[in-house]
Amino acid sequence: MTETRELICINCPLGCGLTVTLKDKEVVKVEGNTCPKGEAYGKKEVTDPTRIVTSTVRVSGGVLPVVSVKTASDIPKGKIMDCAEALKSVQVQAPVAAGDVVLENVCGTGVSVIATKNVSAA
């Protein structure tokens, strides 16, 4: 059975419209992408969708009360809310440097959450 799915590539702000053709649940064609990332995204989005999660965690003793963080790579879409929840109980001590790991293996994804900004000690 052949089916097509209309998607929007979210890999960059260009937001190309993609048409993914599946045959017996296998991706046979991706159209509409401007670059190879779009093709990879189209394949993945219909089989195993993932996202980078960005949020903040509490900082004690810093010039700012929170520091921005992100997952070092994408995690399954279904785990976004669990990841956000896990970050609520994390607190780090200033100074924090961009790239510092604030939480390892978030929700069993094998992916670390890292700081994206420097926050110096107050």
Partner: protein
């Protein structure tokens, strides 16, 4: 402090930083960046989501990470800057400009400079302009204010949220508030299309099953001390609410994401001609405003959705300012402004930046950025010189929320004499 300079840059966001870096690389040694905030980086400091820098760095960075790349470069080049310093006024004195600044250490100071780059960014449309009837209870924020509160101060403005306007900041905040545990009930958009990027509709709303109601607006705000609920209604093609379509949502917070406007109080006072469409200065191919030696770039020139374009544009402003400084002693009286070719936009194109080109000053090509007024599919963007079509480019899709660009060649503009304008328009396929 020292008070004469070759170049002063107003604003230390991505535009100001990229302009400074490029100017310094082009040989300007005597420059200064002025920033009113306590850190460099501008609005990017509160944009903690990813999606920055794909074009420039071929990787996806968050706002603070993108800003840091430019801050690092500026530090490496030892570009002088002053934080916590507000620019109050810019005025002309002969060919020089006098920049009035204020900060705690120096008080009120007048600085003299040959060239100025405006890089003040933009601000959000205030809620007063929205004309929503009813009380003004607590719990109403612009989306950008909420973004700052959540991402920099760690403060959640509310638990049950309705968002009016589907600009990017509104969409980003719908996801952000959801991740922080709030319930975002609906995003209502007055227009029949979203003003935000497609990718943000997908990953900020659809991922979290947040409904987007197009052609809807807020008709009533309930609550006296604090918002307790919002009524939205569908609007007709004249943007008038249609009776009988009202829907009530209980909530404690209303976020307004109704667009951004360039921050041009200073430019206006200086006498730079402003465009009624962009609210930014009118500029030529060198990104120079109608005031000689004053350049503009980034969101103060026109609102950008991609910071990569801001950095690129600002870099060009930096090099042009460097040229201007290099030619300081040259007689400019022959720089005949009448030789400028005006870019007239019509047929669905709202504006272009630059708005005019002086062919003898342009490099081999010039990038023209523009926005369209509605959604177009499978059309051409054409440029005419008189009857002759000099450019004809196919576009699969164009939307008001996304900035477009095309490249004009010098040969197209210099071939015919007596040319005073070219016309840019959308044509059906």
């Amino acid at each position: 402090m020292k008070n004469t300079f070759d170049l002063i840059i107003v604003g230390g966001g991505p535009a100001g930083l990229a302009a400074g870096i490029q100017a310094k690389k082009a040989g300007v040694e005597d420059l200064l960046i002025l920033e009113r905030d306590h850190e460099l980086g501008g609005i990017l400091n509160q944009c903690i989501h990813n999606g920055f820098g794909l074009h420039t760095f071929k990787e996806e960075l968050t706002g603070p990470e993108y800003a840091q790349r430019y801050i690092d470069q500026a530090m490496e080049l030892e570009i002088p800057y002053k934080l916590n310093t507000m620019v109050l006024d810019i005025a002309r004195e002969g060919n020089e400009k006098i920049v009035t600044i204020m900060n705690r250490e120096d008080g009120l100071v007048f600085l003299r400079t040959k060239a100025v780059i405006l890089a003040m960014g933009c601000r959000e449309r205030p809620r007063g302009a929205l004309n929503i009837p009813g009380y003004r209870p607590a719990g109403i924020y612009t989306a950008g204010t909420a973004q700052r509160l959540v991402n920099m101060e760690g403060y959640m403005p509310g638990r049950e949220v309705v968002i009016l306007g589907s600009g990017d900041i509104g969409l980003i905040m719908a996801r952000r508030m959801t991740l922080e545990g709030a319930k975002v009930k609906v995003v209502a958009e007055l227009m029949p299309y979203s003003g935000g990027l497609q990718r943000n509709i997908v990953q900020c709303l659809e991922d979290f099953h947040i409904p987007l109601k197009l052609s809807h607006t807020v008709v009533d705000i309930r609550g006296k001390e604090r918002v307790t609920g919002i009524t939205i209604a569908q609007v007709d093609e004249n943007r008038k609410p249609i009776p009988g379509t009202e829907e009530f949502y209980s909530c404690d917070t209303l976020l307004l994401s109704c667009g951004l406007i360039p921050e041009n109080e200073l430019s206006g006072k200086l006498g730079a001609r402003l465009s009624p469409v962009t609210s930014g200065p009118v500029v030529n191919e060198s990104l120079e405003t109608s005031v000689e030696g004053v350049f503009a770039c980034g969101n103060v020139l026109h609102v950008h959705d991609l910071v990569d374009y801001v950095s690129e544009e600002a870099g060009r402003a930096g090099s042009h300012a460097a040229e201007y400084i290099r030619d300081w002693d040259k007689d400019r009286s022959r720089d005949n402004k009448e030789n400028a070719v005006r870019i007239q936009t019509e047929g669905g194109i709202r504006y272009s930046v630059p708005q005019m080109i002086r062919p003898e000053h342009m490099e081999d090509t010039v990038t023209v950025r523009f926005r369209v007024g509605r959604v177009f599919q499978d059309v051409y963007v054409s440029v005419y010189r008189g009857e002759e079509r000099i450019l004809h480019k196919k576009r699969r899709k164009m939307a008001p929320g996304e900035m477009e660009q095309l490249v004009l060649k010098k040969s197209d503009l210099t071939a015919a004499g007596g040319l005073d304008k070219i016309v840019m328009k959308v044509e059906e396929a």
